[in-house]
């Protein structure tokens, strides 16, 4: 979780230095969802996510320096500088792509689960998406198809209570998004998305169901983004005190406090780990900054598969 938090801190910094183009959508405050779910997966499992996907891609194990490299548009970036912040992907670790179309990746995730079922690989496919995405047609088509075919899929709503600038209540007629699972004959599970241990437990159950051939699960992880929607959004629409309330429930603080309280690690040990992660992230960013931009000719590569 610290890797993700510090990665995002660094992204903010790189953005203000004009080293990151376009926009970025940070997931600070939501780290426990990505980490809790991805820690329940095994090698060969796959994950798709949204433009707010830095956390999930890192949680799958994508290298930190090459992730920075992609945001910086470097040739050594995960996608050779063709994807950027909103399209991070590392297929070698099962991160099948971040998607800048709200809901656009849910059907793809169903397809990865279909391949698992058809090829009998036993792999589970996870899709992360926001609360707003549950109002998109592709959400409904995907859950329905995954359920009718009993596919090994897990759909994870990162309910951060806002779709861009609109609060959930203004756009969505149900308050418990997990309830939407009922329409598709699958379990809908609600979990405190700022409690990484609880998220992992729920995800393990869903993974077990999927691998047993019992079909998909819809998980609603209740969480909050501590930043605005994107780099251009200060989040002024949030009611007074709301952010503070959520910062008091910050998932990283909660975990480190719990670990210390349980006596698993001492406060100094926790601090030392934190410092080490911070150093590693900063080093990775520096390495990536030093990498060259892609040659202009590289833009022609990989429109098509090369002839085999």
């Amino acid at each position: 979780m610290w890797t993700i938090r510090f990665f995002e801190d660094e992204v903010k910094e790189l953005f203000t230095r004009n080293l990151v183009r376009g926009s970025t959508h940070l997931c600070q405050g939501q780290e426990a969802v990505a980490v809790g779910v991805c820690r329940a997966l095994s090698a060969g499992d796959t994950m798709t996510c949204t433009y707010r996907g830095h956390g999930a891609v890192l949680a799958m194990g994508a290298p930190v320096d090459r992730s920075f490299g992609e945001l910086l548009g470097r040739a050594q970036g995960l996608c050779g500088g063709k994807g950027g912040s909103m399209h991070l992907a590392d297929l070698s670790v099962g991160a099948l792509g971040s998607n800048a179309i709200v809901g656009g990746h849910l059907p793809t995730s169903v397809g990865a689960a279909l391949a698992s079922q058809y090829l009998r690989t036993g792999a589970v496919s996870v899709a992360f998406f926001g609360d707003g995405a549950t109002n998109i047609g592709a959400f409904h088509e995907s859950l329905n198809l995954a359920s009718i075919w009993k596919l090994p899929a897990i759909f994870v709503i990162e309910n951060n209570h806002y779709g861009e600038y609109s609060p959930l209540e203004a756009t969505t007629p149900v308050t418990r998004l997990a309830d939407r699972a009922a329409s598709y004959g699958m379990p809908g599970v609600y979990v405190d998305g700022n409690d990484v241990v609880a998220v992992r437990a729920v995800a393990r159950d869903a993974v077990a169901r999927a691998r047993a051939g019992d079909g998909p699960t819809l998980v609603e992880a209740d969480t909050y983004r501590q930043q605005g929607h994107s780099r251009s959004d200060p989040g002024a629409y949030r009611p007074d005190g709301e952010l503070d309330g959520w910062i008091a429930r910050d998932p990283i603080t909660r975990l480190s406090d719990a670990v210390v309280a349980a006596g698993t690690l001492g406060a100094e040990q926790v601090g030392a780990i934190r410092d080490e992660v911070l150093r590693d992230v900063k080093d990775a960013a520096e390495r990536a900054i030093a990498w060259p931009q892609p040659e202009p000719e590289a833009r022609f590569a990989n429109v098509w598969a090369e002839r085999s």
């Binding site: 996608c79 063709k82 099948l96 792509g97 397809g111 990865a112 090829l119 047609g137 088509e141 990989n302």
Partner: protein, 326 residues
């Protein structure tokens, strides 16, 4: 020697041969399995290959295309059917934003061997939401190959070529050609995408046309021949990649170009071809090229209206005669 069948039947034959050749190939779509397809073009596949490989889906065009994309990323070679090409509008995001550019955005981390079959085109009285020549919608999206077969052997070979291709292929079957008969040679295999068929050779004018306009153009060429005007007729068979060389080679002899298409002019493959030929090969022309196209209206329903909308053999003859006499 070979087997004579019609355009509708050869669809199932080509699919069956690819399903048999490669266990990685699966076929999904609405009513494609147990029912044998809305156009009866996939009869027998479900019985032969089972519901694991020939799968009926709900009415969910986004999920159908998306599932094909995800499965392809993970090593399956899916064929998906979108019943009428017009319904591609419902899953345009999956085709334009996901399928076409996933490989590019990830800088080649995956191949997407997805084939999407769609029943295309006008002339059957299906009216504006079931008759569009939809292939033109996709010309502006790099990353998609586009196949438009007009004959039985072409459909057979190109379908097999499309399924074996490692890129996304949009495969347009023209529903007004379902009854056209032809022969599939014994031992016929896949055809490469991007190679035109020179249907007929003549020294006076080059006519380029696809699908039902190919058939009308051949008829027009025969009529013109009886007047002493000899036309070369070229069917590109695929719009992406396009066999520009075949057209330019023919222009070296004829110096005159007529492009005949079922769609309105704006943003069409015919308009693009004319532009490419004029800008790249201006020296080959003795007269300005002609684009015979449909009207700039939706496809109308009534027989008289739809007939008038589609370029007719008469119109192709008249326009070509005018050009040759220039």
């Amino acid at each position: 020697m070979g087997e004579t069948m019609n355009y509708r039947q050869v669809i199932a034959r080509a699919l069956a041969d690819e399903l048999a050749a490669d266990p990685k190939v699966i076929f999904i779509g609405e009513d494609v399995g147990a029912a044998g397809g809305a156009f009866k073009s996939t009869v027998g596949l479900h019985e032969r290959f089972g519901s694991d490989r020939v799968r009926d889906t709900p009415i969910s065009e986004q999920a159908i295309v998306g599932a094909a994309i995800g499965a392809a990323m993970m090593g399956v070679r899916p064929v998906a059917e979108i019943m009428f090409a017009d319904f591609a509008g419902v899953c345009f995001d999956q085709i334009a934003n996901q399928l076409a550019k996933f490989r590019y955005m990830t800088d080649g981390q995956a191949r997407l061997p997805v084939t999407i079959r769609m029943a295309n085109g006008a002339g059957g009285g299906f009216a504006a939401q079931h008759s569009q020549p939809a292939e033109n919608w996709f010309l502006n999206i790099p990353g998609l190959k586009i196949v438009v077969p007009a004959t039985v052997p072409d459909l057979y070979g190109l379908m097999r070529g499309a399924i074996r291709d490692d890129d996304p292929v949009l495969f347009f079957e023209h529903k007004n050609l379902f009854a056209v008969k032809g022969e599939v040679e014994d031992g016929a295999g896949p055809l490469p995408l991007g190679v035109a068929d020179v249907v007929r050779r003549g020294a006076d004018v080059t006519i380029v046309a696809t699908q039902q306009m190919r058939h009308r153009s051949v008829e027009a060429a025969e009529r013109l021949a009886s007047e002493g005007v000899e036309a070369t007729v070229i069917d590109p068979r695929t719009l992406v990649p396009f066999d520009d060389d075949a057209v330019a080679d023919s222009l070296r002899t004829t110096s005159r170009l007529v492009v005949v298409q079922e769609a309105p002019q704006a943003g069409s493959w015919g308009a693009s071809l004319v532009a490419r030929m004029v800008t790249g090969h201006f020296d080959l022309f003795d007269a300005a090229p002609v684009l015979v196209a449909a009207d700039d209206t939706p496809v109308p329903y009534a027989g008289t209206l739809e007939d008038a909308w589609l370029p007719s053999v008469d119109r192709i003859v008249t326009e070509t005669r005018k050009l040759v006499s220039y």
